[in-house]
């Protein structure tokens, strides 16, 4: 471990990339990205290109910086005033960290689903159309349509269509999470960021969410953090393995799981990791 840190500090350690990535259409381009929580560096020189229209999984032991990296993409880390970043992240070739960027505009392009279902304390309907409402959309017909579309997409429509006006807290955990996904896709973002979306759910609910993620791939780019290997293998096209704030190996999911190039990755995937 200390060895790795040394190597990192001295810039000797290099990420191992899968050559297949070269052919992909890139939507998010993370360039030499460092992030500090106060004095503590949480991300080290991340270079990572996320392909459009695919599911990319971030795996790694807990505390390795997966969430931090994910939240860096939609600049949610900005909320903390002791966070400092270096390097850049580009979305569609435009810098996310430029000073003139309008944060709400930016975040509208990226829906986010959190670890724990976090519906707002309002009705199911209002939850789903919240991103549109704050965007100034007032027409009921549009809102109704978006609500139905998003909920259908999230596979929740049939379950809740008769109780749209009821409080979202009345839903089960899995339903709440699918509601959050519906809310995330309602404004038709380009990217959906998911931070361990199934960690608080039971296997059946997890299964449903995984199905949903697979179907999302057709329309959106999905970046998903998970510490469940099987899940990563099941839903993702690409997988990035992170360790101690460092991107160790990144490539096609099949390759990462079948024949990882780095020993650490292999250890982690096979569960031989501390």
């Amino acid at each position: 471990m200390t060895e790795l840190l040394e190597e990192l500090k001295n810039n000797e350690k290099k990420t191992v990339y899968d050559p297949l990535l070269k052919d992909e259409n890139i939507i998010i381009d993370i360039k030499d990205f460092n992030l500090y929580y106060g004095n503590k560096q949480a991300l080290f020189k991340i270079n990572m290109q996320i392909p459009k229209g695919k599911v990319t999984a971030l795996i790694g032991p807990s505390g390795c910086g997966k969430s931090t990296l994910l939240r860096s993409i939609n600049r949610l880390n900005d909320l903390l005033d002791y966070v400092r970043v270096e390097g850049d992240i580009l979305l569609d070739g435009e810098s996310v960290y430029d000073r003139s960027v309008d944060l709400s505009e930016l975040r509208k392009k990226m829906g986010m689903v959190a670890q724990k279902p976090n519906p707002f304390p309002m009705s199911i309907y209002d939850n789903v159309v919240y991103p549109l409402k704050i965007n100034g959309v007032k027409k009921k017909s549009i809102l109704d349509e978006v609500c139905e579309r998003s909920l259908s997409y999230a596979g929740l429509w049939d379950e809740v269509k008769d109780r749209l006006k009821e409080n979202a807290f009345g839903l089960s955990g899995g339903q709440q999470q699918r509601l959050c996904i519906a809310r995330a896709i309602a404004p038709e973002p380009e990217v959906i960021l998911m931070d361990e979306p199934c960690s608080a759910l039971d296997p059946i609910a997890t299964y449903k969410i995984e199905e949903l993620i697979l179907s999302l791939r057709e329309k959106f780019t999905v970046v998903i953090v998970t510490h469940n290997m099987q899940q990563a293998a099941r839903v993702s096209d690409f997988t990035a393995f992170m360790y101690m704030g460092f991107l160790v190996e990144y490539g096609n999911t099949i390759n990462i799981f079948k024949k990882p190039k780095v020993k650490d990755t292999e250890d982690y995937i096979t569960g031989r990791f501390g």
């Binding site: 003139s100 944060l103 976090n118 704050i134």
Partner: protein, 845 residues
């Protein structure tokens, strides 16, 4: 290991025990305070207690009138021929003084223990009694008192202590009526240096005599000056002899009554030329007067009638013509039976009186409170008079010749207090309508304390509302700012500033309010009011201006944006306030706002406009949202960021002008309708009137400062308690911080903020020093925002030190404390209930 475990368990137990004790202790302490307050106030509402003291055989002849001494031990009774000094406990006649003259009429002066007699030969003389008590043997007064009569004195033995009681009589000639006319009725008012005597002679002429005694300080020579005037009443009296003649306390009216209920009043305001004022039947149902006397103070006439009622009368303003006073019945009391009233004995202490009816029932009432204090049925076969002593603790009942004398001990601690007299409207003596009045003391003797808590409760609520109107927006805005927008550094500095604010003693705030702010504001009233309007205006204006800046610049200003806006907007607001106010003062307030406030010749338009401005703004926003919103949205379509900013700014100006126009339109309509907010609003009468230096606006403003910290702290906690994941979910959904606050944070924190407001309310209600120093402390009910008031707490602070322990005043102050306690208790409980409910709800999130 074992040992450690045991220790831990022990510590746990001790902690648990201590916490339990502490918790129960707190509840107990609050309960005790409550019980103590209750226990001190409950005696206020008790009615009187009576116990028979003695029943003594007497040798008196038929008594007609009498006086009882202070202690209720000896009495001077008059049977028409002689005065007899009677020992009440034993029934013995100690002394007897036959009158050496033939009288035709007599009057009684309750204040002086004296009678005035008119004699057959045209003389007028005064008979004064002086009751004395000598202490013969000092010693411990223990056990039951024993009484005996020796040497014309009543001897009292209580244990070792010995006292003697006796009475002295003085007879003095006052005036001699010349031509030897017979006097049929007489009354007198006597002060230290002057007598006012009114008498009716048998030729039906009413004579007024003013005898003024002057002592030359240098020579010691005493000179008397007699003024006389008269009025011929032949026409109105029509040959009849009146039954009662009374002079009122201010010597402005002489009242004449007939048993059949006819009333004639003579106005003697101008001594030289008295004139007839009223002549009417006072009862419309044919009741007959059977007894009539003044209540203490000679303002209220108590009329006993043959139906068993005693009615209380005084002149009140005529409904049609306020300058006309009409003698009217105000209160009515039932003697307990439908039998004629035989005698009325007014108290020498307060506004209570004792009624004796023909059936021998003795009832005591307090006039203004209406409290029924005593109800006794006499054992005498034919009771004739019932006399109350000076201390209101004894009633002596005398009967026919050969009858016994009955005395009763009374305990009437608080006759003037009923639920209605503290919380309801009471018509006090000589006033024309029932009112809420707090006036606990005065210089004069026969003053009646007025204990309505309503003006104080009103003052408390008035102060609280004004304070909250100022404190709520400021405190909540700051809480939102620090919890949602400010960086850690700024948050900490704001928090510590507010904590310093909280630690400012309210005396200091009161001092600042009374000695710095009030005198300052007094000179710039309108500018101050306009600053409060213009500062928010210029804030919004600056917000719009900032939008015109290039977007990149705006984004890079980041968190400093608000400070930059504030830095420009505050001075701008003040400046605009001053400029606009001086302009408006000339235009609408005739150059002087404070003069305009109480000069009703000036049009109320400006005042209406000022008050209605918030409504004007509200209506404008509503109309805009309702009718113009879509149009406005369509304007913004396909416009660049910069163009949109310009359109927004134009919209802001147009709406501002619309608000002003709508406000003035409504103000104009109301003014045209002839309603003036300075004096004739329904129910609340006025919102703006004469400017008093220490007024509700100033107190509200300063008290606002006192409650801001608590509202701020509690609502900031509530805001911080909103789970972080909701905040980031909203931000991640593309909401701006402000949208997140409005749509997510505030609704979730609402109940917490609400309870913060309620706690602030509780604090403001109990606040004492600031109001004490800056509110002027006039206990009036007046909506005028420029007038002072007195709150419950300030009242307690001012008056409790001077209230005699266990007196009515003292206990009413405790009642005020109890009311205050209940007000804050209810509000705080309400706040706490909401907080608990909200805690349960937020644990779901």
């Amino acid at each position: 290991m074992m040992k450690k475990n045991v220790r831990k368990k022990l510590a746990d137990k001790i902690a648990k025990y201590l916490i339990t004790v502490g918790g129960i202790g707190t509840i107990l302490a609050v309960l005790l305070v409550f019980l103590f307050l209750l226990w001190t106030t409950i005696p206020l509402f008790k009615s009187g207690e009576v116990s028979q003291n003695s029943l003594a055989k007497s040798e008196l002849s038929d008594v007609r009138h009498g006086i009882v001494d202070e202690y209720g031990l000896i009495a001077a009774v008059f049977d028409g021929e002689a005065f007899e000094i009677v020992s009440l406990p034993t029934g013995d006649v100690i002394d007897r003084m036959p009158l050496k003259f033939k009288w035709t009429s007599f009057g009684y002066n309750e204040k002086r223990n004296s009678y005035i007699f008119a004699t057959e030969d045209g003389g007028i003389l005064e008979v004064d009694f002086e009751f004395k008590k000598d202490n013969i043997n000092q010693g411990v007064a223990e056990g039951k008192a024993r009484y005996s009569v020796t040497d014309g004195r009543l001897m009292e033995k209580i244990g070792d202590q010995e006292n003697s009681y006796y009475a002295g009589i003085k007879i003095k000639d006052l005036i001699k009526v010349q031509d030897g006319k017979k006097i049929t009725n007489i009354d007198e008012i006597r002060n230290d240096n002057d007598n006012f005597v009114a008498y009716l002679t048998d030729d039906k002429v009413l004579h007024l005599n003013e005898v003024i005694t002057k002592e030359n300080i240098l020579t010691g020579e005493i000179s008397t000056q007699v003024n006389e005037s008269n009025i011929d009443l032949k026409k109105v009296l029509n040959g009849r002899n009146p039954d009662y003649l009374k002079i009122n306390s201010s010597k402005t009216t002489v009242m004449i009554f007939f048993k059949d209920g006819e009333y004639i009043s003579i106005d003697t305001k101008i001594f030289e030329s008295p004139k007839i004022l009223e002549n009417k039947k006072i009862f419309s149902d044919g009741r007959k007067i059977t007894y009539l006397d003044f209540l203490i103070g000679r303002n209220t006439i108590l009329v006993g009638d043959d139906k068993g009622y005693v009615t209380a009368w005084w002149p009140i303003e005529d409904q049609l013509n306020k300058n006309n006073l009409v003698f009217s019945q105000i209160y009515s009391f039932y003697s307990g039976d439908d039998s004629p009233v035989r005698f009325i004995s007014p108290s020498k202490r307060d506004k209570s009186f004792v009624i004796l009816n023909e059936k021998g029932r003795v009832s005591m009432y307090h006039m203004t409170s209406g409290k029924h204090l005593v109800d006794i049925v006499s054992n005498l076969t034919k009771p004739k008079i019932a006399l109350l002593n000076q201390k209101n603790n004894k009633i002596a009942i005398f009967g026919n010749k050969g009858d016994k004398i009955e005395t009763y001990d009374l305990k009437i601690p608080h006759p003037e207090i009923t639920f209605r007299s503290v919380f309801g409207k009471i018509q006090y003596e000589l006033t024309s309508k029932p009112e809420y009045v707090w006036q606990s003391s005065s210089g004069s003797d026969d003053f009646e304390p007025k204990f309505s808590l309503i003006p104080l409760i009103f003052g408390t609520i008035k102060a609280t509302i004004v304070a909250m109107l100022f404190a709520i927006p400021v405190a909540i805005m700051s809480a939102i700012y620090t919890s949602e927008f400010a960086s850690k550094k700024i948050r900490n500095s704001i928090k510590s500033t507010i904590e310093i604010m909280a630690s400012l003693p309210s005396v200091v705030l009161g001092f600042i309010a009374a000695l710095i702010v009030s005198p300052f504001v007094e000179n710039v009233v309108l500018a101050t009011i306009f600053s409060f309007i213009m500062i928010p205006f210029s804030l919004i204006f600056m917000g719009h201006l900032v939008q015109l800046l290039p977007k990149e610049l705006l984004n890079s200003m980041g968190k400093y944006r608000i400070w930059i806006i504030l830095l420009v907007a505050l001075p701008l607001g003040l400046y605009l306030g001053v400029i606009i106010s001086s302009f408006v003062e000339k235009l609408l307030f005739y150059g002087d706002f404070k003069y305009w406030l109480h000069n009703y010749n000036y049009s109320p338009l400006g005042g209406w406009a000022l008050i209605l401005l918030p409504f004007g703004v509200g209506i404008t926003i509503y109309l805009y949202r309702r009718f113009l919103y879509e149009f406005y949205e369509s304007l913004l379509e396909n416009k660049s960021y910069h163009q949109a900013g310009v359109i927004e700014l134009v919209k802001f100006f147009v709406l501002t002008i619309c608000s002003v126009i709508i406000t003035f339109f409504v103000a104009f309509l109301i003014t045209k309708a002839g309603i003036d907010l300075r004096y004739d609003l329904p129910i609340i009468e006025s919102i703006m009137n004469t400017y008093v230096q220490r007024n509700a606006l100033i107190v509200g403003f300063i008290m606002g400062f006192a409650v801001i910290p608590i509202i701020y702290t509690v609502s900031e906690d509530a805001l911080n308690a909103v789970p972080e994941h909701l905040r980031s979910a909203s931000l991640a959904a593309g909401a701006t911080q402000w949208q997140t606050v409005v749509n997510i944070i505030l609704p979730v924190a609402m109940s917490g903020i609400f309870s913060a407001i309620m706690i602030g309310f509780g604090r403001a209600i109990g606040e004492t020093m600031i109001v004490l120093m800056a509110a002027g402390n006039t206990p009036i009910i007046d909506m005028n925002i420029f007038s002072g008031f007195r709150t419950l707490s300030a009242n307690i602070a001012v008056e409790l030190p001077e209230a005699v322990i266990n007196s009515t005043h003292y206990r009413v102050l405790y009642l005020a404390a109890l009311v205050l306690f209940l007000m804050t208790f209810i509000i705080n409980t309400f706040a706490e209930m909401i907080r608990i409910k909200y805690r349960k709800k937020s644990s779901q999130l």
